[in-house]
Symmetry: C2
Subunit: 361 residues, 2 copies
C-alpha cells in the first residue's frame, strides 16, 4: 500500500473574523466552533487516515510557533513557515516536495485548516477512497461537496462523465469545469441541475502526479520542487527555499493546474462541510433563540431579531436591530450588518495602516 | 436683601444613560459633557448667586455619599438622602423646610442636577432677577426656555400677560398653561406661535410662598414642613423625617402646585439649555465627522453615518450602519438605534430582575 500524507494549508491573515481573529491569531487558531481550534480539528480529522509523522502544516513564518502549539502531536519540523505568502499553488508545490522527500511514491491530501466538517467517518472514507484512486489512476482529484443550499459564497465544480465507484462507496466523476461564485439565480440553477458541487479546496493526488502537472503548466513550481529535493540534505536548504519561494508568482492551484490539466476528477463529498468564511457562517453552527438571534457568550436582546452576538468577556445588549452582528474581542467591539461582513477585511486593512491599532488587528 | 438658597434635585435611577449610568452611578454623576460631572457643574453654575452654605442637594440615601464627593465645597450636611423617592413635590417641600430652618424669609431656586446650560452669565442674571421678583411679589416662578427647535421631548409653558421686566433684562410673563410633550405638528405650531416656552423644571420662590402653596393644595406636604420645623433641633429629627417621608404620595410639583396656583409666573430663559435626557441628546454637544458620526473616545467607521459611538476604554468599529448608538461601559456594550433609546429603560428594568446583572445595572 502506498504511503498516505496530508498537507494542511494554514495561512490566512485573520481579517474575516476580526476582531476575534488578528494577524497574530488568525481564524485557523480560533475555537469558533467546537472546543479545539480549527487547525487542531483539521489534524484530528485525519486520525486513522494519515499518520501524524506524515502530516505537514504550511503556514506563515510568523504563525509557525502557534501552529506547533496547536498541533503538538505533529513533529515540529512538519510545520513549515512560508517566508512570504505565495497563494495555494506555491504552498502545494512545497508540500509535494516535502512528501516526495519522505516517499516519492506517496499520495497526499491537500486540506485547509479552516473548514468545519461533520460526518467524520464519511469524510475519512472519502479521503481513503480518493487516495487509492488518485494513486492507481494517476488522477488529480478534488473533493466536491454536494450543495445543501444555493450558496453564492462558494465556487462550483461541474461534473462530467462518471469515473469510478470506490468499494467504500465514494463516487468519482470527471471534473468538467470549475466555475466562480455564482449570483443567486445561477446558484439556484446549479442546485436544481444536480451536477454542480461546491469547490471545497481539498485535493488528492500523488506527489509524482502533481509534480508532473507543475512541470507541464507551471515550470517555476516544478523547478522549485527539484531544487528543494536537490537541497534536501544540504545545509543551505533554508536559504535555498526562501530565495526560491520569494521569487514565485502568486497563483492559486485552481488557475495554475486544475483548470488546465486533463486528468482531473472529483470525489462526491456527501459529508457536512462549511468553510466558515466569515461571521455570518456561524448562523449555521449555533442554536437560535425564538427571535432568530445567535448568542455566543453573554448577550441580551430587546425587540431584536436574527442577530449574531459573540460576547464572551462582557455583556452585549442589542435593542431594536435585525441582521446585525456584534463581536466582542479583547479591546475591540465590531458592529456590522451580516450582509456587509465582506467589508470587515477593508476596515482591518485600513486599521493596519495605523500604528495605534497594531495590537488590535 | 433677602438670603438666597438653592435646592438641587439629584435623584435619578441611572436608566436612560445605561450602561454608562447605573443605579450606583446615575447620570448626575457622569461627566458626559464637560470635565466635571453634572452635579458638580450644577453647583458650580451657582457661583456668585448662592453661597455654598445655602446650597442643598436632595438625592437618594444610596447616592448621598457620591454626591458629597462630587460637591466637596458644600457642607456635607447640606446633602440629604431621601429614604425613598417621592417625586419632585416631596423633595421640594423638604427643601423648603431646610431653607426655612436657616431663614424663614429666604428665597430659593429649585434646580436639577442633570441639565447642561450654556451662557452662564445669562443664566445667573435670570436666577438673580427671578429671586428678586419672587421675593418682592410673592410669586411662584418657573423658568421657561425659549425653544430653539420644535422639540417633542419637552413639556411646554404657554405664557399669558406680561408681568415685569427686571432691571438686568429678564422678562417675566404670567404662566397661563402647562402642556405635556407635544407631537411633532403641535411642537411646530408652538414654535411658530411664539408664546410657548420649554418647561425647564427650574423654579424660584420664597420658602414662605411655596409653603403656603402646599398648605393650599397639598396639606400633607405642608404638614411635613411644619413637622420638620418642629423637630429641627430634636434628636428624633431623622426618624421623624423618614417616617413622614415614606408616607407621602408620589406627585410632581407641576401637578401638585404649578397647575393649580394663581400666582404663577415664568421667567423667559434665553440661555442655551438641554436636559440631556438620553444618549441621542449628545448629538447636540459634540462635533460630528463628515458622515455625521459623533465619536467620543476610540471609534472607527466604514460606510456608517449619523451614529453615536461612546467608547472610552476600547476600540469600537461600526460598519454600514446609520443612526445607531454604540455605548461602551465597564463590562457592557449597548447597541441601539437612536430612535429607540427610550427602550433602554425597559431593558435595564428587565436586567435588574436578574441577579447576574446586578453589578452591571
Amino acid at each position: 500500500m502506498t504511503k498516505r500524507f496530508a498537507v494542511i494549508l494554514a495561512g490566512g491573515k485573520g481579517e474575516r473574523f476580526w476582531p476575534l481573529s488578528t494577524a497574530e491569531h488568525p481564524k485557523q487558531f480560533l475555537s469558533l466552533i467546537g472546543e479545539k481550534n480549527l487547525l487542531a480539528q483539521a489534524v484530528e480529522r485525519l486520525e486513522g487516515v494519515v499518520d501524524t509523522s506524515c502530516i505537514y502544516v504550511i503556514t506563515s513564518s510568523e504563525l509557525a510557533e502557534v501552529a506547533r502549539r496547536s498541533a503538538p502531536e505533529l513533529p515540529p519540523e512538519n510545520i513549515i513557515g512560508e517566508p512570504v505568502g505565495r497563494d495555494t499553488a506555491a504552498a502545494i508545490a512545497l508540500g509535494a516536495a516535502l512528501v516526495a522527500r519522505q516517499d516519492p511514491e506517496g499520495v497526499m491530501a491537500v486540506l485547509t485548516a479552516d473548514h468545519i466538517i461533520g460526518d467524520l467517518e464519511c469524510f475519512r472514507s472519502t479521503l481513503r477512497d480518493a487516495m487509492d484512486l488518485a494513486h492507481s489512476e494517476n488522477l488529480l482529484l478534488t473533493i466536491g461537496v454536494k450543495p445543501s443550499f444555493p450558496s453564492t459564497g462558494y465556487g462550483y465544480i461541474q461534473t462530467g462523465e462518471h469515473l469510478a465507484d470506490a468499494p467504500a462507496g465514494t463516487v468519482f466523476d470527471r471534473a468538467k469545469r470549475f466555475v466562480e461564485k455564482p449570483d443567486a439565480v445561477t446558484a439556484q440553477q446549479y442546485l436544481k441541475e444536480g451536477s454542480y458541487y461546491w469547490n471545497s479546496g481539498m485535493f488528492i493526488w500523488s506527489a509524482a502526479s502533481i509534480t508532473r502537472a507543475f512541470q507541464a503548466f507551471r515550470p517555476p513550481l516544478y523547478e522549485m520542487i527539484c531544487a528543494l529535493n536537490a537541497a534536501a540534505d544540504r545545509r543551505d536548504f533554508d536559504q535555498t527555499f526562501e530565495r526560491i519561494y520569494e521569487g514565485l508568482e502568486k497563483i492559486s492551484i485552481d488557475y495554475a493546474v486544475m483548470e488546465r490539466a486533463e486528468n482531473v476528477g472529483m470525489a462526491r463529498g456527501v459529508f457536512a462541510w462549511d468553510d466558515v468564511g466569515s461571521w455570518p457562517a456561524l448562523d449555521n453552527h449555533f442554536t437560535h433563540d425564538d427571535a432568530g438571534n445567535v448568542v455566543i457568550g453573554d448577550g441580551v436582546t430587546l425587540e431584536a431579531s436574527d442577530n449574531i452576538i459573540y460576547s464572551k468577556d462582557r455583556l452585549t445588549a442589542v435593542i431594536g436591530l435585525s441582521d446585525v452582528m456584534v463581536v466582542q474581542a479583547d479591546g475591540v467591539t465590531l458592529v456590522c450588518p451580516k450582509d456587509q461582513a465582506q467589508q470587515i477585511k477593508e476596515l482591518v486593512q485600513r486599521l493596519r495602516q495605523d500604528a495605534r491599532y497594531a495590537r488590535l488587528t
